[in-house]
């Protein structure tokens, strides 16, 4: 342990850790844009109706994560993920307060995600995560 008291050793270790930090910042800068958190929405309204739809273009099998914290006084929220050939990956309809935390393995292809709402006093939080390296998102409406 005596070696750690030597000034030279101290500065060498400090320099190595500084280089590690510099490398990690460089890595962070290059990879931060791979994180797709979309939709990332905090919705709050007295009344909300309509349809929101986006397409996920999956280029490589990947996992997506969904967190949906719905608080509604009346009405419904419906969330559907459907593959282009019609295969339903997810389909749920909420008519009361509910917390959804799910993940899905998506194969290559095109997936249509639709959110239908006809809600009163909507307090809704939605987080949808995917890896931008393998999945691109396109809003339809």
């Amino acid at each position: 342990m005596e070696i750690f008291h030597k000034t030279k050793v101290k500065y060498i270790i400090l320099l190595i850790s500084g280089l590690f930090l510099a490398f990690s910042i460089y890595y962070f800068q290059n990879h931060i844009f791979e994180i797709g958190l979309n939709p990332y929405s905090n919705l709050r309204s007295d009344r909300m109706t309509g349809k929101e739809q986006f397409v996920l273009h999956v280029n490589k099998p990947s996992r997506v994560y969904l967190l949906h914290n719905a608080k509604l006084t009346g009405g419904y929220v419906e969330f559907v993920i459907k593959k282009e050939d019609g295969l339903v990956i997810e389909d749920y309809r909420l008519t009361e307060d509910k917390f959804i935390n799910r993940s899905y393995n998506l194969e290559e292809g095109k997936y249509y995600c639709t959110i239908m709402r006809d809600v009163e006093n909507n307090r809704e939080k939605l987080r949808f995560y995917y890896d931008k390296r393998f999945i691109t998102q396109e809003y339809v409406k």
């Binding site: 990879h31 967190l67 987080r127």
Partner: protein, 231 residues
Amino acid sequence: MKISKNIRKSLFEVEKISLLIISVVVLVNLGANGLVVLLSDAEATSYFIQQLASNITLFGFIYLMMYSINQAITAIPFLVSLNCRRKSLAKNVMFNGLTRSLFITLIIIFINAIVFAPEIGLDSVTGIIGFNISSNNPVILLTIAVIFCMLLYFIYSLTTFISLLGVKYGWEYVLTAVFIILGTCFLLFRPIVLLFIFGRQLNLFIFLVLILTAIFSLINYRSIVDFEYKY
């Protein structure tokens, strides 16, 4: 028993300074946020309550960090210079961290239970580590409390470890430790996002925190027992 009580008293003398500083910072921060309530409309009240919850959560962590640093750089060298029994001191330092972590967890859970009560209707947080924080389910609340307490004690052990490292070997190692921690956070940013929002790899995270806490606690215990007063 009496020695242990005296050590606790001496450590509390140091803690008083941390408590005073953190209270002033929290009060000033909340005071500034409180002005929004006075100057704005009714919506601001819920904003203030959210600020209260997030401030107390954040400063819970900062308080523990400050307390552990204060202990390592002032109380431990002072008590060692007075030939205090090292094993009792080491046990007390660890036990203090545990009780403070429990206490802060209780305060935070209590405030969150009030703030996120359905009557108040606050809904600022989607979920934390994959759990619904505004839930009234006791099992979920207990799980969050246990994880939170573990995390607090982990932070306490880590800062005690870094402070003792600095006292024993020099400031260069403190900076090294900070660089390594920051670097690891930058490298693991994506898993961290997935963990703290969606609760992905939560089991692995809990396992790692437990293992690292045990390692740091053991090293801290040995460091305090072998502490040499050199001033």
